[in-house]
Each structure stands twice: as structure tokens, then as C-alpha cells.
């Protein structure tokens, strides 16, 4: 069955806070700043918001955000689980709420002090006996307890299976940072970066080195989703959700799906892609640019394969042809990605994908961008969306 949501929800507002390593303010402050920026961008008032979608990991209760902003009544609030896998899942929630009339105008937000507060690189620990803690317990005693170490385990096997080399990882790391260096909002703004610096950087968990890994950032991002009817009256050109899907595949674990017959793959994203293509009526050839979740450089490669931009094991050649660059087949992570703009758990990626369709990216490709892909984190239950110009 194909879900009937095509073009029933439209992104009409986007907002980011300043990104930093030390915000000096609460996560709630970041959340309301991001939401307010998105509301202003849309030309709406806080009281126009009647729904909210965020991450289970987000510390900012919907009702706290609502009270701080003066939103008033909420008729929809839904949270998505699995860390960065929740990025487009929040958009999925918002789309369903708007398409079904559960709410008219939903804000998706994520705000975190990811550097000055709780750091993901610190790893997992803890002795509260939840199913989640027991899950991490199969890895913690051995020292496999950071996101980089889990992704490294997949990457080593995937490189072994496909013959893809560090050249391709560097191309992802480099093309993304070239965009970031040109984005005043990016951590990497104004920086230079080359292969020598990439190679010389410390190893985090082999084969991943420092520049294969994303930032840890303080900041917030938000997008406003509403109906096409409402969108037509607002100040920004509408960016329509053509299709959005989430998927947890067979034998799924959170970052550690090591028990599949062949674990060097992301079947959950393949299935999500299939569903998004089916509900949008679009194919891979319709996608002009992308924001692909990049907590680590190799995960961009796997997703290119899952969405069919190239065959399995061919993503190395695909990117080494310059596909991700501004004049390439698929300009990707034009904001600098989470590798070099900021790590806001992929919601800054939805902001950038919206800009790409509006034509307002700081690194806008010369060609028309009719459709942009945006994805969530992988290795976990995940998903993605195709955004297009509102008809």
C-alpha cells in the first residue's frame, strides 16, 4: 500500500539559531529561538502553530516551547525515536498530522547543546535497566561505546566487501567542507582543507579519522509545515513534501545491527527510498540536489546506493566523478553538512533542502533544483523525504 500524502503538506518556514561550540544559553532557549525564526520566516504568528514534532532525545517539552513562545493550544504533538534517524521522521509526523487534519500548522524542531552539554562522543553508559541500556550492555564492556566506533565497524566491512577506499571517504569529507567554507553560518566557514590535513588527522576508530566525523554543536533548527491552502497565502514560496517515509528493517538494532546475515548495508533506507519514490511518483532522475545525513563520511556513500543514484558498491566511483560538487550530478550537503556546518541532528538539513528548492542556498547550484532529497541518520531506523516546488 502506498501512503496518500503527496503534496498534502508544505514547508513554509525555516529557522536556525547561531551554531556554536558554547551557546551559553539553555536548550529551551535555542529551541524557542529556532522556532521563532521559522515562524518569522513564514510570516506567521506563534498562535498559528497548533502542532509540534520533535525527537525523543530532545529535552525541550512541547508545552515548554509552547508556553515560552505564546503558542497557546496544541492539538498534535508527536515524537520520533532513534537519534538522527528521527530527522525526517519528525517531518513524517508533521506531514501526517497536516494531511489528516489533526493539526493545521506543525513546527518540527530540534535544539541541543551538543558540545557544551551532553556530548555524543562521550559514549553510552549507565546502569538503569531499560531494554535500551541492556542493548548497549552487549557493547560497552568491550569498549565499543561511541557512535564513531559503531559506524567504523560497518565501514571496515563495507570497504572490504566493495573495494571502496579512503579516496571516496575523503571526497565526501572534502566536497562537504568546500561548501561549509563558503557558508558564513558554518563552523568551517573560511577554512581551507586538503588531503594532507585529512590524512594527518588522528584516527578516532579505524578506519575513521577526525575529518570523517561530524561536529559536536550547540544550536537549534526548525521548519514549519502547513496545508497547501494555507501555504498559498504565506510570504515564502511553498516547498511541498512529495513523499516521506520511515523504516525499521528486519533484525534492526540501534547502531549495532551486527546480527544480519550480511550486516554491511542499510536495508531500512532502501525500503524507505522505495516508499518515497512510490508515494511521490518520482524516480531518482527527478532529484536535482540532496542533503544526505552525514554524521560520518561513509554513511553518505551507503545512502547514495540506497536511493539508487548508483549501483551497490559503486558510490565510490560516483563521488570520485565529482557528483556531490556544485556542478556535479547531485550537489549534496551544500550547507556544509553536519561535517562542517553544525550537527543539529539533521534538522538543519531539512532547512537546507528547503533552501535548495527555494533557490536560496548560500551554495545554490546553477541548475534548476525542482526536487531535493533529504535523509535521516542511518545504522538506526531511518527515513527520508523528497521536497519539491509547490504547484
Amino acid at each position: 500500500m502506498v501512503a496518500n500524502v503527496k503534496d498534502k503538506a508544505v514547508i513554509v518556514g525555516i529557522g536556525n539559531t547561531k551554531f556554536s561550540k558554547e551557546s551559553g544559553v539553555s536548550e529551551l532557549s535555542l529551541a524557542v529561538q529556532a522556532v521563532k525564526a521559522a515562524i518569522d520566516d513564514a510570516g506567521l504568528k506563534p498562535s498559528d502553530i497548533d502542532g509540534m514534532a520533535t525527537f525523543t532525545m530532545d529535552t525541550n517539552d512541547e508545552i515548554e516551547v509552547a508556553r515560552a513562545l505564546g503558542v497557546g493550544e496544541l492539538t498534535f504533538y508527536g515524537r520520533s525515536h532513534y537519534g538522527g534517524g528521527a530527522a525526517t521522521s519528525c517531518l513524517h509526523q508533521a506531514t501526517m498530522a497536516v494531511a489528516t487534519g489533526m493539526a493545521e500548522t506543525v513546527v518540527v524542531y530540534r535544539a541541543l547543546n551538543g558540545r557544551s552539554g551532553h556530548r555524543f562522543s562521550g559514549g553510552v553508559a549507565g546502569d538503569i535497566t531499560t531494554a535500551d541500556a541492556i542493548h548497549w550492555g552487549w557493547y560497552m564492556p568491550y569498549g565499543l561505546l561511541t557512535p564513531a566506533s559503531w559506524v567504523a565497524m560497518f565501514t571496515e566491512r563495507w570497504m572490504h566487501n566493495t573495494g571502496v577506499t579512503k579516496d571516496a571517504l575523503f571526497e565526501v569529507a572534502h566536497s562537504t567542507r568546500v561548501y561549509g567554507a563558503n557558508n558564513p553560518a558554518a563552523f568551517f566557514y573560511g577554512r581551507s582543507f586538503d588531503r594532507a590535513e585529512y590524512d594527518a588527522a588522528r584516527t578516532i576508530a579505524s578506519p575513521l579519522q577526525l575529518f570523517d566525523c561530524c561536529q559536536e554543536s550547540d544550536g537549534g533548527s526548525a521548519v514549519i509545515v502547513t496545508t497547501p491552502e494555507r501555504a498559498r497565502d504565506l510570504k515564502q514560496p511553498g516547498v511541498s513534501v512529495r513523499g516521506v517515509a520511515q523504516c525499521a528493517a528486519d533484525n534492526q538494532e540501534q547502531m549495532t545491527s551486527f546480527y544480519r546475515e550480511e550486516f554491511a548495508g542499510i536495508p531500512e533506507m532502501e525500503r524507505a527510498a522505495e516508499n518515497v519514490y512510490a508515494m511521490s511518483g518520482l524516480t531518482v532522475d527527478d532529484i536535482d540536489a540532496a542533503v544526505i545525513y552525514d554524521a560520518f563520511s561513509p554513511i553518505v556513500l551507503w545512502q547514495l546506493e540506497a536511493w539508487g543514484f548508483c549501483g551497490n558498491g559503486e558510490s565510490g566511483d560516483f563521488v570520485l566523478d565529482g557528483a556531490l560538487r556544485t556542478d556535479g550530478r547531485l550537489p549534496t550537503n551544500t550547507h556544509g553538512g553536519q561535517l562542517s556546518e553544525a550537527y543539529i541532528h539533521g534538522v538543519n538539513g531539512i532547512v537546507e533542502a528547503t533552501r535548495l528548492v527555494r533557490g536560496t542556498s548560500v551554495n545554490q547550484p546553477a541548475k534548476d533544483v525542482n526536487h531535493a532529497l533529504v535523509t535521516s541518520g542511518v545504522g538506526i531506523p531511518t527515513g527520508g523525504a523528497i521536497l519539491g516546488k509547490m504547484n
Binding site: 541492556i134 542493548h135 552487549w138 560497518f154 551486527f258
Partner: protein
């Protein structure tokens, strides 16, 4: 001290800013090789420009020079200082601070600038003023004020050779927190243990007893790891277990470099290992160089005590002949 008293006190100390501590005073002794030799010996500075007359004569200067950092040395009082200093503005300022409880003293920094060199037989003339006094600061030592003197050095021709700024903190000494009592026993961090609940405690208890078990469905015999309460094949909740022989093959591996977590020994290699029984397990590969670990490597496991509190399966290269 009331706000008014504090204001009055600050007016009094601020009146010292700009006051002369010593007028231009020629050093009692000219710059000389004996003092330079002693100073460079103590400092350990072997630069021949200071002490090797023959070398210096052939250098671009044509003669030896005094180390610039000695600038302040030439005007120092000798033994006479032990019989007391003559009153000057700095001494008056210090006693004013002391009178108001700012008895603590801490020299915080010295900054010298050099403009011209001096050589033996030159004479260094020093003058000093109180240059500035900070606002009241809260410091780790207690509340206080920083004051800075500025000394200016000239040679016998009136040419400026350098300056020195010397900053001092005068503070009200605070009780310092007592150093934490020494631990009776040194706590050595151990590995982070898995929490134990209904679905996994039996597995870790067996591990503590030296065994690696694999959960088995009693109904359809399917093995499963990690343990779960229900069989995904037949939905039976009845299960028992078998003991693994810990013969395995490396499916993937990573060497953990950063961050280094307390309680773990590095180098540290983690691997996904397919056991001979058919299930996968994550563990460490030990007993070989990390660079020797590879996909397809045959390994043999053994449950070991890895620290004071932790029993874990550890896998060695099968070629090492280790037995579980």
C-alpha cells in the same frame, strides 16, 4: 567596610597612580663582566655574545653585551637592603593596603621590553613609577587589587634601553579549602558493566562463571543472540541454552583510538565475530598486534577476568593455539 569606606579607600589608593617610586638613579656599579658571568652561569645561558670576549670581538657588535634581561639587576640594592628600605611611594602604598587587611602579596607577572643593548662599562639608570591600579577583583586567593609599577632604564647618555612592568596582587587572604582527604585505597577504574535485567542476567551470570552461552528456542531450536524473551521464528517463549566453543571468524573490526575511556586498556580492538554455532557476538580481539586483525581471521575465545570486577570473553588468533 561600608560602600562609603570602600570608596574612600579606593580614592586613597588611586591617588598613588602616577607617583614616583624612585627618581632616575644611576646604578652603583657600571655594567661589568664579573656580574654578567655569575648571572649567566646561574641562568645557564651560554650565549658567547655575553661571556666570550674573543668571540664577541669578532662579531658584528665588535664587543660583548650584557643580557638584556639583566636590566633590572644593575640598580638592585646590595647588602644594605637588610637594614631596611628607605620610604618610597610603593612602600607607602603597600602599608596602606596592609592597614586595610589586604596583607596578602603575590607577584603575578613581569614584562620587559628592550630597545638598546648595553656593554661592560656602560651605566644603567633606573626610574620607577606606580603606573596603574585595577578595580577591586575577586580572585582565587581572595578579594584584592592588582597594582603595576613601570620602571624605565636609560644608559649614561640618556638613551632608553628598556622598560619593565611588574604586577602585584594585594589581597585579603581567604581560608583555602582543605585538600581532599587522601583515599584509603586507590580506586582503579574498571570497564563499564552491562546492566542486568530479566532478559540478560542469566547470560552475564554464566559469563562470570567462565561460560559463553547462546540462547536456544525450545520449540524450534533456533539459536539467538543477544538474548530476547521470544523466538522471532515461532514466537515461543520457552528457551534453554547451549555453551559456545568460542571458535569464531572475524566479520569486521575497529581499533578504538579516541576517546580513551578510563578502565579500558589500549590498544583496544573490537570485532564482530561469527561463532562456529552460527550466531554473531561482539568482543575484543587480543593477543596480537591490532594491525594483524583482519576480516576472515580465525579466532578462539576464552572467558577471562579483564579487570578487578569484569569477566569477559576475549578472542585470540586461532593460530596462537590458545584453549578456552
Amino acid at each position: 567596610m561600608t560602600a562609603n569606606e570602600l570608596n574612600a579607600f579606593e580614592d586613597e589608593i588611586n591617588a598613588f597612580v602616577g607617583r614616583e617610586v624612585c627618581p632616575p638613579t644611576p646604578a652603583k656599579d657600571d655594567v661589568n663582566t664579573a656580574m654578567i658571568r655569575q648571572w649567566t652561569e646561574i641562568i645557564g645561558d651560554t650565549n658567547p655574545a655575553y661571556t666570550n670576549e674573543a668571540w664577541a670581538a669578532k662579531s658584528t657588535r665588535g664587543k660583548s653585551i650584557a643580557p638584556p634581561a639583566m636590566m633590572y639587576v644593575w640598580g638592585q640594592e646590595g647588602f644594605a637592603v637588610t637594614t631596611g628600605r628607605p620610604a618610597d611611594a610603593q612602600a607607602d602604598l603597600v602599608s596602606l593596603f596592609n592597614k586595610h587587611g589586604y596583607t596578602g602579596v603575590l607577584g603575578t607577572n613581569v614584562k620587559q621590553e628592550y630597545f638598546k643593548e648595553v656593554s661592560p662599562n656602560d651605566n644603567v639608570v633606573m626610574e620607577m613609577v606606580i603606573d596603574n591600579i585595577s578595580e577591586r577583583k575577586t580572585t582565587g586567593r581572595g578579594p584584592g587589587y592588582f597594582f603595576e609599577t613601570l620602571s624605565t632604564f636609560t644608559n649614561q647618555h640618556g638613551e632608553k634601553i628598556g622598560t619593565q612592568r611588574f604586577k602585584v596582587l594585594k589581597f585579603i587572604p581567604q581560608e583555602q579549602p582543605a585538600a581532599p582527604a587522601a583515599e584509603d585505597t586507590l580506586q582503579v577504574p574498571t570497564r563499564i558493566a552491562s546492566p542486568r535485567g530479566h532478559d540478560n542476567k542469566w547470560w552475564w551470570d554464566a559469563c562470570d562463571a567462565g561460560k559463553v552461552l547462546i540462547q536456544r528456542c525450545k520449540s524450534c531450536q533456533t539459536l539467538r543472540h543477544p538474548p530476547r524473551p521470544m523466538c522471532g521464528e515461532c514466537q515461543s517463549m520457552e528457551w534453554d541454552s547451549i555453551e559456545s566453543t568460542l571458535d569464531g571468524e572475524v566479520l569486521s573490526h575497529t581499533e578504538l583510538h579516541h576517546p580513551k575511556i578510563p578502565g579500558y586498556q589500549y590498544p583496544l580492538v573490537c570485532a564482530v565475530i561469527r561463532l562456529g554455532e552460527g550466531t554473531n557476538i561482539v568482543s575484543n580481539v587480543v593477543g596480537c598486534d591490532p594491525s594483524a586483525v583482519h576480516i576472515g581471521m580465525q579466532v578462539k575465545g576464552k572467558v577471562e577476568q579483564v579487570d578487578e570486577k569484569t569477566m569477559l570473553p576475549q578472542f585470540y588468533p586461532a593460530s596462537s593455539g590458545i584453549r578456552s
